[in-house]
Amino acid sequence: MIVSSIPILFIDLVGSFLMIVLSFLSLQLVFKLRKQDRDNLIWTYLWWICLALSCFAVSRSAGHILKDILLMGGQKRIWGIIRPYSGAINTTMFIVVGSVTLFFERIWIIYQLILKDRLALQSAHKELLFLNQNLEDLVEERTNALVASEHKYRKIFEVSKDMIMVAAKDGTIVNLNPSGYNLLGMNSEDDQIENRNVRDFLADAGSWPRIVASVESERSVENVELDLVTVDGTRRRILLGGSMADDVDNDEEIIHFLVKDIEKRKVMEEQLAQADKLASIGELSSGVAHEINNPLGVILGYTQLLLRGENSASERYSDLKTIEKHVRNCKAIVEDLLSFSRKSETDKQMLDIHQVIDAVLIFVQHHSHIEHITIEKDYNPTVHPLLIDEKKIKQVLINLVVNAIHAVGEKGYIQISTDLSEPTNELLVKVKDDGHGIEPKYLKKIFDPFFTTKSTGEGTGLGLSVSYGIIKNHGGHIYVESKPGAGTTFTVTLPTALTLPEN
């Protein structure tokens, strides 16, 4: 087949020329790209590709153009000499372009890593520059924030109503807040707590290793009930919680404790339990008293009937009198039981409590030998008259004063005071003595009917029970505080409202 060689020659010549032109134009573009960012590895890579392609284009196109010109000019021999060199250069350029191109993936990964590092470096540089320029401000800002934070937490530490204590594992107290000092009966300004040991303040020192073991194993301890002994020897019940922490000053671990004083709560719980117990006993007593009261009335009636027909000098009359006396005693006890169970009737009037107390004191002074006992009155003049059953309140006060006289013995001091409580505005009547006090084990039973520490025949054990019933019947409360050897204080509270609750 004979074909025209013009298209081949034309495309060969024009194409070769265009290859050279385009390769150099591409090289120029990459040159501009590189000029923009000389550190850009991708542009450098493209620069090498374009350079290799330009060399390839020149070697190949120049060879083709030369070939076409020489062959058209009949210089086949000259082309025969040049041809191997042109072909070899051309082949070499293929390999160079191919080799450079193969590195694209590796170059791209390296470029991405460089970019990442550069960004990180730029970010670090910016941060460093910012820190350098604003270091003083930043330090001041941080210091202020630290001071504010320290102040805030110091405030919490200082004003906390609960005891906050920092202690080492061996029990050495490192820090204690003012509430802690108060709880331990110490003065935060005068007394030094540092280097004292927690064990010194625990009623059971053996509980400390158990607490530490628990904190070490669990990293914290919660709601441990303990008895604390204050510096003056008073026991207070506490609820302790703690957690392990690292000491900022050294590598040792320390324990942060939060201690709640639950003494008041416990006392209230005990008082509530006591009130429940007394209410139950009252119900029982009331039932028994009612059942006994009627037969006693019959016995007394018949005894008095028999007495009328008897000669007062006879032995039978004397026997009947003995029966009458003991029946009357029994009736008195029954009456007391009814008073305790709040079943007895009351006759309440508006009275001045101070006059009632004065009358009681006069009565007691006439009937007891209290020459060496100092009785002091401390009345609050703002106390107004209140609605009370005079007879029964007098009975309560006599009981309390007589008990106080028995407690102080032949010589002592008794104080009767009145006041108004805040904010309930209740009347407080306190009977305080400096007698032998009451042992803690008796305090819970003191208002129980028939409980007495006196010898048989000296008391029925109903005095305080009756007083308790009477005060409860008035809508009030009666408490006792006592320390063995340090005296006893009975506190009676009575509502000052003009109208009493119906119950």
């Binding site: 087949m1 004979i2 074909v3 025209s4 060689s5 013009i6 298209p7 081949i8 020659l9 495309i11 060969d12 024009v14 194409g15 070769s16 265009l18 290859m19 385009l22 390769s23 134009l25 591409s26 573009l29 990459v30 501009k32 790209l33 923009q36 960012d37 493209l46 374009c50 392609l53 284009a57 062959l71 058209m72 191997p84 072909g87 070899a88 051309n90 082949t91 070499t92 293929f94 390999i95 372009v97 191919g98 080799s99 191109t101 193969l102 694209f104 993936e105 791209w108």
Partner: protein, 162 residues
């Protein structure tokens, strides 16, 4: 040491004798004409593979989503086609005795086909126009670079403005 020095003249004599009466060892391989052709064909295959790898990695790195790199990908594909074309023409020219090309005059050539298949002759003629592939490949490379440059110029402008 002296013992070795004493033996030196004897060793020199033996060595000189061996060199004087030596035969050709034929240790160096000679390279005939076909080697150049094979190297050239291999270079085409190597160029083809490298362009194929470029195309693969451009897709793999999602660079083809950018217009500039997309053009460069087109360029790589066209270079692959060009390599196939060029290698095929060389193969037909040099390896097979199917075609015989004779220059009739300045503007005509005669293509003799031993198989008498005109399709091969026409294909050969068309494949001889390989610049129709490599020139567009260079063209796409140029446009790709131009687009990248434009993009970086715009980015640099935006950066300078901000």
């Amino acid at each position: 040491m002296n013992r070795y020095v004493a033996k030196l003249p004897m060793l020199t004599g033996v060595s000189a004798g061996l060199l004087m009466f030596a035969d050709p060892a034929l240790a160096t391989q000679t390279h005939g004409q076909p080697e150049g052709l094979y190297v050239h064909q291999m270079a085409h295959i190597f160029f083809l593979i490298s362009m194929g790898s470029l195309d693969f990695w451009l897709r793999q790195r999602n660079l083809t989503e950018q217009r500039g790199w997309k053009y460069i990908q087109f360029s790589a594909v066209l270079f692959i086609l060009w390599n196939i074309d060029a290698a095929a023409v060389h193969f037909l020219d040099e390896h097979l005795d199917i075609l015989g090309i004779t220059k009739i005059d300045l503007w005509h050539i005669k293509i003799e086909n031993s198989q008498r298949h005109d399709s091969i002759t026409i294909l050969y003629y068309l494949m001889k126009l390989d610049h129709l592939l490599c020139v567009p490949a260079m063209f796409f490379l140029y446009f790709g670079l131009k687009t990248i440059l434009k993009t970086t110029d715009n980015a640099a402008g935006d950066k300078a403005q901000s």
